[in-house]
Amino acid sequence: MKQFRESAMRLVFFIAALTSILAVLLICVFLFANGIPAMSKVGFFDFILGENWAPQDVPPSFGILPMILGSVYITAGALIIGVPIGILTAVFLAKYCPQRAHRILKPAVDLLAGIPSVVYGFFGLVVLVPFVRDNFGGDGSSILTASILLGIMILPTIVSVSESAIRAVPQEYYENAVALGATHERAVFRVVLPAAKSGVFASVVLGVGRAIGEAMAVIMVAGNQARMPAGLLKGIRTLTTNIVTEMGYAADLHREVLIATGVVLFVFILIINISFSLIKRRQK
């Protein structure tokens, strides 16, 4: 009986694992089966390197380079803003924060993670857009605004994962460093943090995934212009916002091209994850 129960549970776990793999496979099959033909119809280089996106023109143009660059710029901006703040916050929570303050700050960070992206978008539209417009110029809907908003949105991911990684470093590392004459700061930043770099790097990669895949918040603050980036204070459209904006009314080749845009996004995230794996392997 015990043997049967164990086998049954093993089967349940196996099916659960298969379901996850199957989901990924189905997404891959759907994306590539619908997206690759569109790329060949438009022409791979015309699609990837084309600077003009005008699906309603006769004949239409389907160049997604502006959106690729838009995604890259906004993600990079979000990392520049979010990563230093996130890692330093994680260090503070793990190594500096008094217990009483930690009981308040940790739930606050967790709460940030639970806010829906449309609420972030509304916050950006009402608060950040006028702030950027009044203090930096432009019309407020810009790469800078979207980067600030995404920088805030990736904070909980970076803080939570980085803090866990820092706490996972054996206490002996810190104690040995202090015993050798290092100050608290030096021990934390020169010994503990480098020891946790694998986890910290993982948090950054998760942050990149969140930033590059975000659509709802970005659509509300980035201006949504399908043109080449023209400066930090100018608007932009990303790969995700392009799909969200146009999938509702797209038909035929236009729809296929939007799915192909999804393929490009998928490949982007795949490259990021593979790069992360390679860097981790090299460090070992």
Binding site: Q56, P107, L111, V126, D139, G223, R227, Y249
Partner: protein, 313 residues
């Protein structure tokens, strides 16, 4: 502790958002100058608002490609160029920010002193200011008498001939009672329509499409449900092309479009015009501008005019 913190943060966020909503500047009410000729861009303004900097860039806001309002707007103002070989090119400036719904457009313009956009006349509210075009004020009355020329039809479309609840509802829209609802903010297509007699069809229908048509559609649904209580009608708001695509796919029973149907759509759908609507060109209430001519609107939307001092002479 977590609950208390969550409540405190929620209250703080609400107050922060409330505090950040800048009050709209008072609407200028000075009479505008006469309309300029349509050959060269001209505009008229009331006494300049004290803090309106006309050297600032114009923040052009447009709608997404699938929008019927955009389709009609670029056609009426000559922003869409048609070649003799059948080519069509939308010359809207690439600098134009894209609002994907009517309410988003209104929010964008209301929140930015230097912005210009366009919305359905029936969706217009006091948060923004509608400009006169070629001397004519943007009102339903002026659309009806032909002095305000920036208008387009509101169409609904079904795949084949409608039946059951869909047919009964369309009959209501075209009836005396339905057209009275329409004439509140729009122009009715039939002033001499007959009174409605429902066949009391039951069931559920889905209506999808234009965010310009949905406000009047909501009123029509409400009025119809008062007559036929057994009807269940769901409205999904997106844009005209999405509505037509949904009707063709069969994912909705009735599609809404704030433009004429395209040839590809007419091949599969049966259209019915339910109203006529104007398109209002809108600016922020703090903008001293009162009037533009057709050429000025075109020059702004094609990117020829980039700062307000090129428009406010």
């Amino acid at each position: 502790m977590k609950r208390i913190l969550a409540c405190v943060l929620a209250v703080v966020m609400v107050f922060a958002l409330a505090a950040c909503g800048a009050p709209a500047a008072e609407d200028s009410s000075s009479p505008s100058a006469s309309a300029g000729s349509s050959s060269s861009p001209s505009a008229s303004a009331s006494a300049p608002a004290s803090d309106f900097d006309s050297t600032r860039e114009i923040s052009v806001v447009s709608r997404e490609d699938g929008s019927g309002t955009r389709g009609a707007f670029i056609e009426l103002f000559g922003i869409e160029e048609k070649g003799e070989d059948g080519t069509k090119t939308d010359k809207t400036t690439k600098e134009a920010a894209i609002a994907n719904r009517t309410d988003v457009m209104l929010t964008n313009i209301a929140g930015n002193e230097y912005a210009i956009g366009y919305v359905s006349l029936g969706s217009l509210n006091e948060t923004v200011k509608a400009l006169k075009i070629d001397g004519a004020e943007a009102t339903a009355e002026n659309v009806k008498n032909g002095t305000y020329k920036v208008s387009r039809p509101f169409n609904i479309a079904t795949k084949g001939e409608p039946t059951g609840l869909a047919k009964d509802f369309i009959n209501f829209i075209l009836s005396k009672e339905g057209q009275e609802v329409v004439s509140g903010d729009y122009i009715a297509v039939n002033d001499n329509a007959e009174a409605f007699k429902s066949d009391n069809s039951t069931g559920k229908i889905v209506i999808a499409g234009s965010s310009s048509v949905s406000p009047v559609m909501e009123k029509l649904v409400e009025a119809y449900k008062a007559i036929n209580t057994g009807a269940e009608i769901e409205i999904q708001t997106n844009d005209s092309t999405a509505g037509m695509t949904a009707a063709m796919d069969g994912t909705c029973d009735i599609g809404m479009a704030s433009r004429e149907l395209k040839d590809s759509e007419l091949a599969e759908l049966t259209p019915t015009q339910i109203a006529i609507d104007g398109i209002a060109v809108i600016v922020n209430n703090a903008n001293p501008l009162e009037e533009l001519d057709n050429a000025a609107v075109k020059s702004i939307y094609t990117g020829e005019a980039t700062t307000w001092d090129q428009i406010i002479k």
